[in-house]
Structures are given as C-alpha cells and as structure tokens.
Amino acid sequence: MAPERAGAGTATEPAGASRWRPRLAKARAALGERLGSALARRDLDATTWEALEEALLGADVSLDVAEELLARLRAEAAERRTGDPRDVRGLLRDAIADLMHSPDGELDRSGSPAVWLLVGVNGSGKTTTIGKLAHAEAAAGRRVVLAAADTFRAAATEQLAAWAERAGAQLVRGNPGGDPAAVVFDAISHAAAAGADLVIADTAGRLHTNHNLMGELAKIRRVAERAPGQLREVLVTLDATVGQNGLAQARTFGEAAGVTGVVLTKLDGSARGGSVLSVRAELGVPVKLVGLGEGTGDLVPFDAAAFASALVGTEET
C-alpha cells in the first residue's frame, strides 16, 4: 500500500474551509456572538480584552489557554500599534490555527496490515467514527477488517456489524463479555492471513477514571503490538461538546494506550470543541479527524485553518 497516497479516499482529501463551512452553517461560530460584540467596541481596552476572554471560555477553551492566546494577541496588537478591535479577529484566528497546526496530522496507513485502535469515553462516537472510516478506506480501495472489541456494551457488535456491511468491510467479532484483546489479536491475525490492508479496532467506551478498564486498554494495546500487523494509530474520540474534562480524557487515554491523535466528533452540532486547544497545547497531541455530520462522508481530515475559522467566525458573522 502506498501510504503517501493522501487524497485518495474521502477521509484523506485535503479539506479546506470550504468543505467545513456548509456543514457548520447552522452551528455558527461558537465565538461568534460574543466575539462580535466584543470587537464592535471602539477601543482595544481592558473591557474588550475581558470580553474576548469570555468569548474563548464560552467555546470551552480553558482559562490557561485563553490567557496564553490573549497574551500573544496583546503583544501582537502592541507591535502593530493597532488599537482597533476589528484587527483582533484575524490575529486570533491565526493564533489558533498556529497552535492547532501539526505536521503529523496525516493518518499512517503503512504496514500489512496497518492497525488503528479507537479509544474514548462512553458515547464519544467511536463506533460511528469507525463506520465512517471503514467506509472511506474501503471506498479508496483498501481491504478493511473491523475488530468488534467492544464486548461490553449491549449490541455494540451489532452496531458495528451494520457499519461493516454498509462499508463492505469484514468484521471479526468476539463473545459478549469476552476478552477484547483476544478479539483484536484475532482480527489482526485474520487480516494478515487474508492479506487485508487495514484493521480498525473498536473498544468499549470507558471513563478515563476507571483504573481497571484503563489497564484493560493498555493490555489491548500490548496484545495488538504482538499481533502480526503494525499498530500505527491510537485515536481518542473527543465529543465537540465536551468541556474542560476533554484534556483529562486525552491525557489518561494517552498514558494508558499511547494516543497518536484526536478525532473531534459531532462538531456540526456545536462548533465549539475548544477543549482540543488544551489537548494540543498541553499534550502536543494533534487532531487528525473531525466529524461533521451523520453521513458516511462526514468524517474529514483536520484542517487547522478551517477549524480556527469555524471557531472564530468570519468578519460577516
């Protein structure tokens, strides 16, 4: 497989802001209203800066990150000798895009098979993300095997099976309550024997505070590494509506399973997702994919500039 064939599948096409805008049209920019009124002020004074801070906080950006961003903006505004609040929007957008930009935002498809593991808290969108991923990868001509390693949640396997069927991917399932690591191992072995290109493993949702279940996840990772494939991605799903807890989730899942990237899900509903700023700033973990809707084609590669625009809004907003 040619991993550099970026741009082949739906999920690998360069997205660009134009791709995002229609899907986020209803959600509007999270910062929009507050930012609009803050920047409509006449002077770039203390009240304006305070209003800016509140706008960021309202998008679930943490106080620490908001303060950092605003410090940078103040310095830049001073450097440019601008006292016009309207200039700040562009500066803020650039600052967020800078922070979120990552050179290693591309999914790693090398290996035979390449193995991707999806982890995250309950209800954050793992199974749906896998369904969309499988669809895009299969549509790009890759042979995909799905591992239904969520043996805990009732009917999780059935949910994934429905997706596998839609995508034309194979499904390796385990028994309810069975060992999830064994399912992952079987799926990778099966994929290797069948000459498949990619294994995507679903795991049961778990709260990152549950020590035992995080231990189980670490074991799944260890076992996946021993199987006859190459573990390339461990993706943590973060719900775009999540607040300050998102950082703790990414950190703990990272410690247990070595997270390589974030999938920001359900962004079409809120256009917030400010928690990924903290994840990037504090942990350095890049966002790799964004969920923009319920359709199979609504999972797109992360684009820092588009994300910043979605968050900050454009001048017309």
Binding site: A27, E54, N122, G125, A154, A155, T241, G243, N245, S275
Partner: protein, 506 residues
C-alpha cells in the same frame, strides 16, 4: 466529580483562613478563585459571572470585619448560593392518577439515553411499578437491540417496531395500556440541536404521547454547550428535569449548575456507574456540599444503611463494638472488605468521602480486585491464624500464598497493613478522636459543626451520617485511607495488584 472545584476553593479559603480577617482585596482574590474554579468545572460563563456577583454582594453586605471567622462566612455564602442555584429539594415523581405515567427521554447523541432508560425502568420497578420500555430510536444501528439486552438485565419488557419514531412511541403507550403496565419509559434517538427536522420529529413524539415527564439526558462532561442544549430541548419539549449521566468520572458537572440557572429545570436523576443499579435521585443540596469539598456523606450513609439492612445489621453492630473494644480481628477485616464491596467498591466509597485526597485515590486506582485478593488471602488462613496473626511464619505464609493464588510478599503486605489498621482502630477508640482531626479554626466555627471537620469545612450538620454503624464504617475507612501504605501509582496495567493492600496515602 467536583474535586477540582473543591480543590480550588479550599486553596482560596485556605489562604483566607490563615489571614483571619478579610480586606476588600481578599474578597476580590477569593472571587477570582471562585471564578476560575467554576469555569474549570464547566459552569457557563454567564452563570459564573452572575454567581460571582451574588457572592460579592453578599460578602460585602456581611460585616466580615467583625466576624469571628470571616473565611467560614465566605464559605457559607458560597455554599448557600450554590444550593440556591442548584435548587432546594430533591425532585420526586408523582404518578399519574390514570396510568400509565409516561416518561420521555431526549438528548444529544452519546449522552446515555438508552442506558438511562433501562436504569430508570429498573428504578421504577424497584418502587413496585411495572414499567414498559419503548424503543423509539430507529436511527442508530442496533439501538433497539441494545435496549432489549439492557431491558432483559433489569427484567422489563420492551416494545418497538420498525415503523417511524412517532408511530412507535404512540403504539408503545397503547401497548402499555393494553398490558396494564403503569409506567412507560420512551427512549429516543440522539440528535443535534441544530437539526431542525429531527427536533420537529421529537416534538411530534411528545405531542403523540403527551408525556407526564420529559427528561433531558445530559452528559456530566458537557461543557459550555450545556446551556444551549437545555434551552433548545426546553423550547421544543418543555423539560421537567435533567438526568445527569457519567457522574462516576471526574467531570465536575458544572453543567448541572448552568442548566438549573439558565433553563430553570432541576437535575432529577444521576447516573453514577456502569452497572444498571448505579442510578439514583439527584440531591441538589448534597451537591453543593460536595462542590465545597464536604463530600457526599449523606449518599454514602444511605448506601451503607441499605447494605446493613436486615440480618447484617446485628452482625455489623457486633463488629463495630469489637472494633471499638479494640478486638479487631482478621475476620472483621475480611468482613469489612465484603461490606465495602457491597457499598459499591472501595473506589466508590472513597469518591464519596470529603477529602480531595480520597477523591484522588478513588481516581488513581483503588482496585476492587485487590479487595478480592485480600479476601482470598484471609480465607486461606486457619481460624487460629486469623485470631492470632502473629503465629504466621514463613512456612505458613507460603501455604497461605499457595492457597490463595498470591505471593508471600502479598501475604506479608496484608499482615503489615492489618497490623497498622488495628493500631489505628485502637487509637481511634480514644474519646477525643472526633475533635482532634479538625485543623484550622478550632471550634470557632458556626454551631452545628459535625464530626471530623476538615480544615473548616463541615460535614453536613445535624446527623449527616445516619447510623452509628455507617459512621463507624466511614471512620474506619478514613483511618485506613490515611493510615497506611504507599500510594498506588496509576501505572497502566497496574491492576495486576502488586501491592494488594496499598490503600493510597497522601
């Protein structure tokens, strides 16, 4: 769940306490701390601002300079405002005079509606009702299948058919009437609030079944979006309450505060774990105490009471007496562990205790499997060994280790910790124990200061802990918690239980 908020406030007021008297700038500093804490807890920006203003006004209006302990007064003001924001009493369900009582659940994708539906049905069943679950989520693949599996776990029938959500809901209520079921819990598909079509569909369901109660199922980890979610679902459906889910995580759940303040609807139920029984009515007044770091002792005491009910009560009382008499044996130790497991596991117990340390311990890996291993070790001892652990030598240790499937090191560790615990119990017998632990302002606080005050914060006054047995259990747990061992590192995979008795220290 609110540990971070508690931590922040404790820090702020810790500083105030040392100063003793408040100057206006002290108040401002405290207010800044409160703001930071509330924001970190995901309380909505506008709610935070309003809250801060209310506390400021009241703090300035109170003659703090002459107060004996200004810090405690500020704590009280914050506490009262939190209670006021969260709403006074726990909500209750009034059943319809002409059954069935119809309950509609709605919410965003992944908020936990299907699981909450099954848990709620179980809760009704536990109250002598005969609920029917209606699966009207025809969108998510296998959602109805998930509901059926959960329903069979809680012993409640399910109605669903592959038509359309409005039709299913209406037919479900008719079916309940036909079967004589007196409660209907209707699960719906998750939806985005910006999806006007799906919101209209939801309104259609609501109009078709005219629910007596409409609950918004809300993830406790929700951030600033919570207010908009509450507002939108409220507009479309009219909400009677919120079911707050995933409260067993470390999310501070500030969403509860925001929703109450902005949308005006109370949190009615809380989902606090993965098991179907981990579901309880939400007590706003308790939550305020929890936010301030006072722990959720009432909830725990209630659980302890339930666990102690019936024949266990006598046994427990006896054990408690032996403990007080200093005759704490390995059998008691083992019994204690069983009781802890009944309470929902040690992690659960620690999470309810007031200290931030306990909360951290609960997070960072008190492992119920350790309890099981410890029990196994004790069960592998002879009665003589249990009565007199001192006789256990190397050879006996090897036998016990082999019998319990553990290592001699683990056996030794358990014995060491048991010795420490027993010592603790003995010293705990001293009548002064209830007053020696409080630090800070000694006894100068407002009256009604409960037992085991920690640094100025109060355990819920006037019988916050209901039974002597429960109180004793709590004390033992706290002693154990503070009394021994090395911290259980949150090392991934550490659940293999290398140190079976390492109750996390501080």
């Amino acid at each position: 769940m609110f540990e971070t908020l508690s931590g922040h406030l404790e820090e702020v007021f810790g500083r105030l306490r040392r100063k003793g008297r408040l100057r206006p700038q002290d108040i401002e500093e405290a207010l800044d701390g409160i703001r930071r804490a509330l924001l970190a807890a995901d309380v909505a920006v506008e709610v935070t601002a309003a809250f801060r203003e209310r506390v400021r006004e009241r703090a300035l209006a109170t003659d703090l300079h002459r107060a004996l302990n200004p810090a405690q007064q500020v704590v009280r003001i914050v506490h009262e405002e939190l209670v006021r924001t969260l709403g006074g009493e726990a909500a209750s369900i009034t059943f319809a005079p002409r059954p069935p009582t119809v309950v509609l659940l709605a919410g965003l994708q992944g908020s936990g509606k299907t699981t909450a539906a099954a848990k709620l049905a179980r809760w009704f069943r536990g109250r002598g009702r005969s609920p029917l679950l209606v699966g009207a989520d025809l969108t998510r693949p296998a959602a109805v299948e998930q509901l059926r599996v959960l329903a069979s776990q809680v012993g409640v029938p399910v109605f669903s058919e592959a038509t359309d959500p409005v039709g299913v809901a209406a037919a479900g209520v008719a079916e309940a009437r036909r079967l004589g079921r007196d409660v209907v819990v209707c699960d719906t598909a998750g939806r985005q609030i910006v999806d006007d079509d799906l919101m209209a569909e939801l309104r259609g369901i609501s109009q078709a079944i005219e629910p007596h109660y409409t609950f918004l199922v809300l993830d406790a980890m929700t951030g600033q979006e919570a207010v908009r979610v509450g507002e939108r679902f409220g507009e479309v459906l009219g909400l009677d309450g919120v079911i707050l889910t995933k409260l067993d995580g470390d999310a501070r759940g500030g969403a509860a505060l925001s929703i109450r303040e902005v949308v005006g609807c109370p949190v009615t139920f809380a989902s606090v774990g993965e098991r179907v029984g981990d579901f309880e009515p939400f007590h706003p007044d308790r939550l305020a105490g929890r936010i301030l770091g006072m722990g959720d002792l009432l909830s725990l005491a209630e659980k302890a009471e339930a666990a102690y009910e019936g024949e266990q009560a006598a046994e427990a009382a006896e054990a408690a007496e032996r403990v007080l008499a200093g005759e704490f044996t390995l059998d008691d130790f083992s019994e204690q562990m069983r009781q802890m497991r009944k309470l929902g596991g040690l992690g659960d117990v620690l999470a309810h205790l007031p200290s931030a340390e306990a909360a951290q311990a609960a997070e960072s890996g008190v492992d119920d499997r350790r309890l099981a291993r410890m029990e196994a070790i004790i069960c592998s001892m002879t009665p003589a060994e249990r009565a007199q652990p001192a006789i256990i030598d190397g050879s006996r240790r090897r036998r016990i280790a082999a019998g319990s499937g553990t290592t001699t090191a683990e056996v030794a560790e358990l014995l060491r910790n048991f010795a420490a615990a027993r010592k603790m119990m003995r010293s705990a017998r001293a009548p002064t124990r209830r007053s020696t632990k409080g630090r800070g302002s000694k006894g100068r606080g407002p009256k009604g200061r409960g037992p085991r005050g920690r640094g100025g914060s109060r355990v819920t006054p006037a019988g916050g802990v209901r039974t002597a047995a429960a109180a004793d259990l709590l004390e033992q747990l706290q002693d154990l918690e503070s009394g021994s061992g090395r911290p259980a590192g949150p090392s991934p995979g550490g659940s293999e239980g290398r140190d079976p008795l390492a109750f996390p220290g501080r």
